[in-house]
């Protein structure tokens, strides 16, 4: 049995060449229509580095007090409030910034930034922290020993440790005590051409502050917007080339 054989990518390449990117009109919520160029991936095709998933967050549209993205994430992945806010896992959180000079308040969601050069992967002693070829940074919980080096290394405080025994997990989002976890960009949805739960919730609430897509495709909505408006990476000085970018900060 070939347990270590790398999946054959040739079929996918042929498919991509033939498809050349498909323009799909998606209705993601009542009144919200996105015309989006998507690279459809068949279930049996492996992810490839032709895609770099990213997110562009418009903080001007991100409403102070709105928590819809956090709620959607918690529901999607079965993160529950155990009454211990200091240690309860959080994959996405709202952060408030206040400009000392002007008093201007900015609210933004903060989560795993899916770095091209992730410090969590650098420090992981077992290889559990890894980066998929399409840019999504994940934890292989089968080999995570719960040492929490990655949590110390992450400049964005994006990872959580599961302290409690969990039950009734979501089939698409296995989580367990003694392992580290973080935002997965909802790979289980993205692999099937859907949007991450937070993006869907934000659009559903008519805020549209989050745009998710393929940064490597110049015709994708996210690439066009990133080219048109000024956006920045948080802690760009660390040269991690994050997949998540912010407008208006």
């Amino acid at each position: 049995m070939s347990t270590t054989k790398r999946p054959d990518n040739r079929g996918r390449r042929r498919f991509l060449t033939a498809a050349g990117g498909v323009t799909a009109v998606a209705t993601i919520a009542p009144g919200v229509r996105l015309i989006q160029r998507v690279l459809a991936k068949e279930d049996d095709q492996a992810v490839s580095s032709a895609v770099r998933w990213g997110m562009l967050i418009n903080t001007n549209k991100c409403a102070t007090g709105c928590n819809d993205c956090v709620t959607a994430c918690n529901s999607e992945h079965g993160l529950r409030d155990t009454g211990r806010p200091d240690t309860d896992p959080q994959w996405i959180r709202k952060v408030k910034l206040v400009d000392d000079q002007t008093g201007k308040e900015t609210s933004l969601p903060m989560m795993c930034q899916h770095c091209e050069k992730p410090p969590c992967v650098d420090v992981c002693p077992t290889g559990a922290s890894f980066r998929r070829t399409d840019g999504v940074v994940l934890v292989d919980k089968h080999i995570c020993i719960g040492c929490r080096y990655c949590m110390m290394a992450c400049p964005y405080k994006a990872r959580s440790f599961v302290h409690q025994t969990l039950t009734d997990q979501r089939p698409w989002s296995p989580r367990g005590k003694g392992t580290v976890e973080a935002c997965t960009f909802c790979v289980h949805r993205v692999d099937r051409g859907q949007q991450p739960a937070c993006v869907e919730a934000c659009a559903g609430a008519d805020h549209g502050a989050l745009v998710f897509g393929n940064l490597n495709d110049p015709k994708s909505e996210i690439s066009k917007r990133a080219k048109a408006v000024s956006s920045r990476q948080i802690r760009a000085d660390l040269d991690l080339n994050t997949g998540v970018r912010y407008e208006g900060v």
Binding site: P7, D43, D44, H77, R170, P171, G176, D191, R192
Partner: protein, 133 residues
Amino acid sequence: MTTHRITAFLLSGSLFLGLALTANALSGPKIPQARGEKCVEPVEMMRRNHMEFLKHKRDATMRWGIRTEKHSLIGCIECHAAKGEDGKYIPVNDPDQACHSCHDYTAVTMDCFSCHATVPKKGAAPAGSKGDS
């Protein structure tokens, strides 16, 4: 004469007990009937290699985003989770259920279900993976 009878009685008794025990041991674990037409692999193959299939599939899914249903744990649970009298699914790692029954019999501890869901959930099918709450 009496001694012979007692000996014969004891011998036949122990033989009967021995046969009963053997029959019990040979009957093996009891697994609830799975739904679906047939398993994704022949039964003999599955008995011996299901852990290898699962391990291979888990890496393909996690590292390469290959999300076919064949050999996936979600796929196994979809078919093998039985429903109780109340119409609710019984966790596959409950005693006498598909996973636990065999693993108990062979005295092999599994750690899948400290993280993985033990019952099918709405939305877990490949078509869409929306949360259920």
